[in-house]
Structure formats: C-alpha cells, structure tokens
Amino acid sequence: MALSGIEIFKLLPKTNCGDCGVPTCLAFAMSIAAGKAELDKCPHLSDEARTRLEEASAPPIRPVSIGAGERLVKTGGETVMFRHEKRFENPAPIAFITSDSLDEKQMNRQFNLFNTLRYERAGNSLKAEMLVIRYDSANQEKYVSAVEQALADTDASLILMCDEPAVLEKALLVSASTRPLIYGADSENIESMLELARKFDCPLVVKGKNVENLIALSEQITATGFKNLVLDSGARTLKQSFTDQIAIRRAALNSKFRPLGFPTIVFPCEMTDDPLKETLYASILIAKYAGIVVMSDIQAEALFPLLVERLNIFTDPQRPLATKEGIYEIGGPDENSPVLLTSNFSLTYFLLTGEIESSRVPAYLLVKDTEGLSIMTAWAAGKFSADNICEFIKKCGIEEKINHRKLIIPGYVDFESSGIEEELEGWEVLIGPREGAHLPAYLKNWGK
C-alpha cells in the first residue's frame, strides 16, 4: 500500500540537487507521500527505484479502462470488501453477447435494444455499457464486419471474443482506436494474444482454467510489464464463480497479491440456459465482486432490475442519492390539485411518487433540496425548517401554477406548521400522513 515519506526518501538519490523543483530529496519524498508531487519530476531516479515506488503506490486492484471517448468504461480500482467500509468504486459494466453468425435482422435487433434500453434514475443514466462480439462464424470477413457494424450502430464499449489471432488482428485493425477488450489469452495462445494487445494498445482478458492457472498466466504477462489485464478464473458454475470472486478480491486486498490485483470478468451467460436464472446469477456476481458481467441476450425485464440493483450496491454510503430540487407534476395536475412538500432524499421521492401515482389523484410534489437527507435528518440539520421551507415555496414558482394556497407537509414535521403559516402569507398548512403508505387514502379525501 501507500508508502510513508521516509520509505520513499530511502529510494531517492539523496543528492538534494533540486532539479525536481523542491530543495531537498526529503521534502520531495514528503510531497509524493502527500500526493502533491509526481514521481516523474525527479530526473535522476534509478529504474529499480522507480519500479519499486510505482509498485508500492499502485492501487491493490488496478483500475482498467476499456473503450475510448463515449465508449469509455472503467472497472476495477476497488479498495474494500464491504461497501460500508468506504464505497465500491466502479459499477461493474454489463455486457451482452452478439454472435457474428446472427443474420442482419437479428443483429439490428440486438443493437437497437442496446441503444434504446436506457433509464434515468435520481440523476443517473442507467444502461448496459458493453457488447461482446463473438467469433462463431469461422468467417473472417463476417467477424470484421460485425465489429464494424457494432461500432457504427452503437456507442458500446466492445469485447472482441475470438481465439484466432489472425482474425482478431483483422478486427483490431478496424477497431483499435476504440480500445476494445481482447478476449482472451489462455495457456495455448498467450504469446500471440499478448503481442496483439501490445501492438494495438488494448486491454486483455487472461483466461485461466482455474485460479492457480490464472495466477501463472497473469504472472507471465505482468512480468513483461503489460498491466491492462482483466481476469477470467474459468469458473462456469455459480458456486465456483462466487467462490473465485471472493478469493480473488481477498487475495488482492488482504494479501496484496499482485497477480490477482486486476478486475474480473464473469459469464452468467455460460452457466445456464434459463434467462431468469442467468439474471439471478448476474445479480449475485454484481454484489460480490465481478468486474464485468457478461449476459447472453438483451431482455428489458432482466436488464432494468440488474441496473437498479447495481446502482444501489455501488452508491456511496456517505452520499445518499439525491433528487433535483423542483416541482414534480404527477398524473397531470391542474390549478386545483393538491401540493405536497418533501425532502430530496431519493428514497422518499421514489416512494411518494409511487404512492401519489397509485392514488390516481393528480398532484404537485415539491422537492426541496436537503442535500439528500431524509425528512427528520434534514430537520435536525436545519435544512427542513419553517424559514428555509418558506423561502423555497416562494421561489419555486408553485404559486403561479395553482389558484389555492394549501400546502401539505410531512406528518413528521407537524410542529413546523404554525411557523410556516406565519411566514407564508395567505397559505394554509395541512398535516399529511407520517407514512407514504397512508398517502393514497389521504389524497382521496383531499378537498372533500
């Protein structure tokens, strides 16, 4: 892990030449330890010292970038076993397999689904990020044209799944600038695959028969200095895959075992023919440490649940999801519709919109910025009290949309009602229910 300033100092030339811009080597070492200076500033560093310093300061699981520009996805870079300890860094990209032997219609359908199944949630855009183009056709032209078409028709980050180096090279000639992930190097083809990855500067999957074999291959590759690796432990059953994911993450984080310090790729698509089961497998591996999850066919009813699960698991526990402040119109409200106030804690917002929708009473939901805190926490922190609520009501523009002046506040802050009425001239404050579940009954009686 991170070295102290003194440990770094021991590896520096100790000449105090000042070429790095800092008067002494010790001061330079301290700046590096604090993350304020780059190692490269020292022109006199020995190769050996450089390697040792780089290794020591590298993250335990290397972050790997795949794709470029709009296709860029990141995986790896994880630092904890449990999300409450810090946070999970990079949501595991979800990939779908496209066989190059699909006919044009089927391929268009896949690409079209890939492009259209996208969801907005709490300011996040949720989608599958990757497509695997699999070489099934035994026809080089077909494979290259499938890769070209995927690049032309989608913004996917690609995984080129092809075990013939000659075919792969042709595909890389048309796609290398988009930095696809090459799948992959195994005991048989390791030299030629590594050569292609180097030549085209693309990340590479190393595929073991099991974890032991994976370690051997990973050591062989990293010994050459190549580091943009993704690991496939070869497991194709749920139980083995689950176990391998835990083993690899623990070896990398707890034992600082470098050969396994890379993101992983898993294949629920090769574990079962049942699409529902495949989705469940994927959900388990998203929570437990997969770096990339490869699914067989794109199905909206499976993709959406996986995406929201992933959003939840990879949410920073220190920063709750927040909804944007503003007026939300639910069910087409008019100037007589009820007006409800709440915080911008996403969960509260989701629950309330669901309850209002199910009440079938059109309404305005006013979401006040509370920095993502729930009602009571926000109230305790002074972000949901009479004065700032009134300020928000006045500036949000609701007064122009309605011809009544009735505001429904959450039951939990009933004690703020007189304060709000005092400051908001002409408004009447109504106390809503404490629980969202009671909102439909409450709304149905509104105005009666």
Binding site: H84, A247, L280, S283, A287, E301, A302, F304, P305, P317
Partner: protein, 314 residues
C-alpha cells in the same frame, strides 16, 4: 503453483433457533461463516423462504402477483393451504394487514380468530406480522399469542415502543419474537438487549433490520445486515448473533416498476418476468447480506431463489 483462498478467522456463530413444532418444524441459523462462504465455514441450516398470506384480499397488487392465489385470495386458511400443498411452502407468513388503524382497523379478537384458523389449516411454522403500528400491534400480538398458546408462532414486528407487553406474552405462551428496528445496527442491538433483559431467550429472537427492495434503497439494509453479521461472527457480539428475517415481498411488489404493464412501459419489458425478477433479486441480495428467512410472494420467484440457495450450497 497452489493457491489458498485467504480465509477469515471467525470467532462467533449465529444462534440456532427452532421454529414451529413437530415434524414440520425446523431450525435456522447456526452458521459460523458469511453467507454461502462454504470454503471456510458451515451453514448447517440453509436459509428458508416463508410464503405470504394476507388476512383480507389485498389491494393494489399487479395481476402477476394475484394470479397464483386468485381462487383463495379471500380465504387466508385456504390460501395458506394452497401455498403448502401446491407450492411446497415450508413456512407461512400471515400479514395482518386488516388490523391497520389507518385501514380496516380490525380488532385483536378478529385478527386472532384468523390466525388460529390459519394455524389449524397448516402445520408448517407460522409467522404473524402486524402493521408496524406499535400500539395496535401490541394489542393484536398479545391477543394472538394468547389465543394460539404453545403453537410456537413467530410474532412481530416487536419494536422498542411495544416490546414489554409482547415479550411478556411471547414468554408466557411460548412463541418466538421478531425484533424490528429501523435500519440501524445499534438500535437492533439495543432492542435485543431489552428483549433478553425482559426474559426472552436469545434463541427465541429473530432480527428484522427493516428492508427495502432493489431500486428503493436496498443498500441501506444490505450494509446494516453485513455489519450485523461481521459483528456477530468476527467480534463475538452475542447481542447480534440472532438469525435475520426479511419481509421483502411487499417492498418489491409495491414499486411502480413491479406494477406497470408492458403496454404502459415497453422499455421495462414483460411485466410478469419483471415482477418475478424484482422480487427474486431483492431476496437474493438480502440473502447475500445475511438473511436467514425471506418472506416472499410469487411461487416462481420463490422456486428460483430456492434453486440458487441449493446451487450455492452443493
């Protein structure tokens, strides 16, 4: 080279609770490792699924969720029987939704009448779940405990506000209690201390951490459950070593994404499979975090999750 998985040293174990009675009863808990970590510990009792039954025809369920129970939906006893006979339920959870003071507000007497009908209709362990209204639950659960004395029910939710009366009844009439706290490890621990101090044996307590579904903040419960398990298994915290129960089906099925028809939201896909997956994945995520009992609804979601529990175990 040979590779050894870096193992965790566990020094604690989850308490084993016996649920129900006779041949249909079983034990939960007893594991000495994180969920499904068979490479470094054992789970002598695999997680169990309880099937939901409502005490009056539920409102607002999507057709997918109603369909399997359409013929029995107005009769809790027959509903429970159908779950056991047709869907192989190994446990039933009777949701006493009709006792909600904001709803039908049925009396404790009426509720315990239904509970005893259901408990006579099936022999598997029976969970009785109130409405999370502490005052009303206290009246209802005490009455239920008394009416079904020695039936070894699992009753809850028991909260800090009403634990005294319910604990007393559970001890007197020999039932297990569900200790319910709002997604907070310290409050969960505190309630377990209060319950054990008032005489409930630790083996007769299940922890309800309060859960939600995927897309609706499941990460809060997920992390609280992981922390509870870490404390129980690696920090010898015996006040958190109880099995965990998750009332997850109602959370998964109340979301708008579980209800919307394909015609209303084609981008969300087939509504039947979607509903099943929203429920099954929610349950699976909670099982990974340490759940021992999942309260579930759709027979297909249940059979999926059961299959996967077996695959992870064998």
């Amino acid at each position: 080279m040979s590779f050894e998985i870096p193992k965790i040293k566990y020094n604690g174990q989850i308490k084993e609770s016996t649920l129900g009675e006779g041949q249909s009863g079983f034990r939960v808990g007893g594991q000495n490792c994180f969920p499904f970590h068979f490479f470094e510990g054992s789970m002598p009792n695999l997680p169990r699924i309880a099937m939901e039954v409502y005490d009056y025809p539920p409102e607002g369920w999507p057709a997918t969720a109603v369909e399997p129970f359409r013929d029995v939906i107005d009769n809790p006893a027959r509903w429970a029987q159908k779950c056991v006979r047709e869907y192989g339920a190994e446990m039933i959870c009777l949701q006493l939704a009709s006792t909600d003071p904001n709803g039908l507000d049925k009396s404790p007497e009426e509720a315990s009448q239904i509970v005893s009908e259901v408990s006579r209709a099936v022999s598997v362990p029976l969970i009785v779940w109130g409405t999370a209204n502490p005052e009303k639950d206290s009246q209802v659960l005490v009455k239920v405990a008394q009416t079904c004395a020695n039936k070894r029910l699992i009753i809850g939710p028991v909260e800090e506000k009403n634990y005294k009366a319910v604990a007393e009844a559970a001890i007197k009439y020999n039932h297990t209690v569900i200790a319910s706290s709002p997604i907070d490890i310290n409050l969960a621990k505190q309630l377990n201390i209060l319950l054990t101090n008032s005489g409930v044996s630790a083996e007769n307590i299940l922890i309800d951490p309060t859960v939600s579904s995927i897309g609706y903040g499941i990460e809060y419960a997920y992390s609280v459950m992981e922390r509870i398990r870490i404390a129980a298994l690696t920090q010898q915290d015996d006040k958190l070593q109880m099995p965990i129960i998750c009332n997850v089906a109602r959370e998964a099925w109340k979301s708008k994404e579980a209800k919307m028809l394909f015609e209303e939201a084609p981008e969300l896909g087939d509504e039947t499979k979607r509903g099943i997956l929203l429920e099954a994945i929610s349950a699976m995520v909670l099982l990974l975090a340490g759940g021992d009992i999942m309260i579930m609804r759709h027979p297909q979601a249940i059979s999926l999750v059961k299959d996967i529990i077996k695959e992870l175990a064998n």
